[in-house]
Amino acid sequence: MAAPGSNYAVSVRSVTKRYGNFTAVDDLTFDVHSGEIFAVLGPNGAGKTTTIRMILDILKPDTGRIEVLGGPISDRTKERIGYLPEERGLYRNVPVIDILTYLGQLKGMSRSDAQTRATSMLEQVDLGENIKSKVSELSKGMQQKVQIIATVLHHPDLIIIDEPFSGLDPVNTQVIKDLLYSLNSDGVTIMMSTHQMQQIEEMADRLLMVDHGHRVLYGSVQEVRDRFAENAVIVEGEGNWNALPGVASVENAENGREVLLHLASGITPDAIMQEMATSQNYRVRRFELAVPSLNEIFIQVAGGNHNHTQPSELPVRS
């Protein structure tokens, strides 16, 4: 848990990091609240990993100040953090239980505690039969689960995890998601960096989006989506939508079933819904505020002209 009196698991203030003439992180400020799930997103090369490495004291910021779990990072603080980098691996020719015990001990656990908890967690993620298997004998998904166990084995107060679901099938994604939810419900703060917008929308309380080292989006997921919401509604049904009072223009969706109604200035979605309900000329099966997905916001904010996202990772909104 964070120090008494501190609401922040991580506090980053005006942090800048340069590599020669290249500014990786530029005057970045944000907080991660204790007990929340916080998402960091941004195109490749935006400065996410550099920011995480500075939080973990792997890199030192050129300017600015970072506090973790209530103060500047120290050896004691590090034992309360679980970290899983994006490009990850383990000692390949070592039994799973030996690696987990070793990493647990390095985080301050006793040998017996580390072994007991590692065994229990491996069974929890259906790897009970692979306790003595070497890492090289496991599938990629199995290795991913072992790595996540190594991250959370020592009961950290803060988990920093880069792309937690990459390489996992839907079943294993759910297993890991449940594990993270379970930890979060116990008060563990989770800071995750991911390209999977669907996971952020589903899991994160708040988010930070960085681009070229700058903060471009920051706040609760709902706030961010509302901020980018247009004055429009999505409707599925029958009727002459152009004739509906208060509708400025009509846009047919690609799926052919729904339409996007852009509302005239001063007209609210409530007024349009009331108009449809009172008229006999319209039948409505679905009515929804046209709030953009995080994916759409991401593309819009990041400009879409960078070679920074992998389309296959981005969910397509129906």
């Binding site: 953090i81 980098p85 990850r88 691996g89 383990l90 390095l106 985080k107």
Partner: protein
């Protein structure tokens, strides 16, 4: 620095690398193969050199007239005779005697060809002046048969000594046995101890090279592996870099020392099977101060190479790249061993002295000079 974390890394590095097949092969396989190979070679050689069973009939022709005694234990030795050739009478001319012995030699050669004799030797006319005896056989002559002939002749000479000679016939047969003694302690040195004093430092230098390079490369490969698979980032959030490096250095240093101890024990076990080698080891070739010096030099040498390998591991991003750089360092390190002959021809020459002072060759260069020259400490 958190020494409990250093200890964790030390234990992990030691036991993980100890179980590596490459280490097990180097530490146990090489001595085992050496032991088996030496045993077989020595058995075959010893059998061939000491076994005289194939020489049951050894003839001799005494042209110098030296052999007069029947010596116990030399029942297989008998003079070559020829029933078709009558022995010259007393007072026969030298030419008649020479013709007679020539015929006996022809007879002996024929008997050797036909297998009647297994070997024969000729004591020539000028034996008293030269001490030379010619030994003939149809197959390889074992050194044991040569020794038998030499001992046989010594006994014959001793038997001819005048009765008033103030030495026994045994002493006359074996007049000198030099005892080598340590100049400092006065302790008796075995026949092979002097050789040991020269060669043991070379063996240690070779052990240093093998053990240091094996384990220092484990160190480098470990760092490169942890960098490649990003484990280094996880470790960096668990302990300080200095703790990680100390743990690795001490763990693999202990592993290198284990390797040397294993080899030394195996070497002593193998050597103790042979008398000459026992002299080689126990004859004062190595003493406690020298062993301490070897230990100190090993620790410093290992620390230097480990630091270099760690530096290479930290600087590169791929294992192949690290091996290329490491091979350059190894090549320099092995130079004193590769130029071994220079040490024997002139241990105080410019090159051995330079190697002793150049950091990358200093450890091995110092050890190799110890047995050959005086080095001010």
């Amino acid at each position: 620095m958190a020494w409990n974390k250093v200890k964790l890394v030390l234990q992990r590095e030691y036991f993980f690398n100890f179980k590596r097949p490459s280490f097990l092969f180097t530490a146990f396989g090489v001595p085992a193969i050496t032991f088996v190979a030496m045993f077989l070679i020595i058995q075959v050689t010893a059998n061939r050199e000491t076994n005289t069973d194939a020489f049951q009939k050894v003839g001799y022709i005494d042209r110098a007239g030296i052999i007069t005694e029947t010596v116990p234990g030399y029942d297989t030795f008998a003079p070559v005779t020829d029933v078709d050739v009558s022995a010259p009478a007393d007072g026969a001319s030298p030419d008649d005697l020479a013709a007679y012995y020539d015929k006996l030699q022809e007879r002996a050669a024929g008997q050797l060809d036909s297998g009647v004799l297994d070997a024969y030797f000729v004591v020539p006319d000028n034996y008293v002046m030269t001490g030379l005896v010619d030994l003939y056989a149809a197959q390889n002559i074992p050194s044991a048969l040569q020794s038998d002939v030499e001992d046989f002749m010594r006994t014959q000479i001793a038997a001819r000594a005048p009765g008033d000679l103030p030495v026994s016939s045994d002493r006359l047969a074996a007049p000198v046995d030099v005892i080598l003694r340590d100049a400092d302690t006065g302790d008796e040195l075995g026949e092979f101890a002097i050789v040991g004093r020269i060669l043991l430092p070379f063996l240690f230098a070779f052990l240093y090279f093998m053990a240091t390079n094996t384990t220092a490369q484990f160190l480098m490969n470990g760092v490169v592996e942890e960098k490649e698979n990003r484990l280094m980032e996880i470790l960096a959030t668990s302990l300080r870099p200095i703790e990680l490096l100390w743990g690795k250095l001490l763990g693999l240093g202990a592993l290198a020392l284990t390797q040397i101890v294993l080899w030394a024990v195996a070497g002593i076990a193998i050597a103790s099977q042979f008398e000459e080698a026992r002299d080689f080891i126990s004859g004062g070739a190595v003493d406690i101060p020298m062993l301490l010096l070897f230990l100190v030099v090993f620790v410093l040498n290992f620390a230097l190479f480990s630091a270099i390998m760690l530096g290479i591991g930290a600087a590169v991003t791929a294992e192949a790249e690290s091996r290329q750089l490491a091979s350059v360092v190894t090549l320099v390190n092995v130079l004193p061993i590769a130029l071994l002959s220079v040490y024997f021809t002139n241990p105080d020459g410019a090159m051995p002295v330079f190697f002793m002072f150049f950091p990358l060759t200093a450890g091995i260069g110092l050890i190799m000079r110890i047995g050959l020259t005086d080095i001010p400490m």
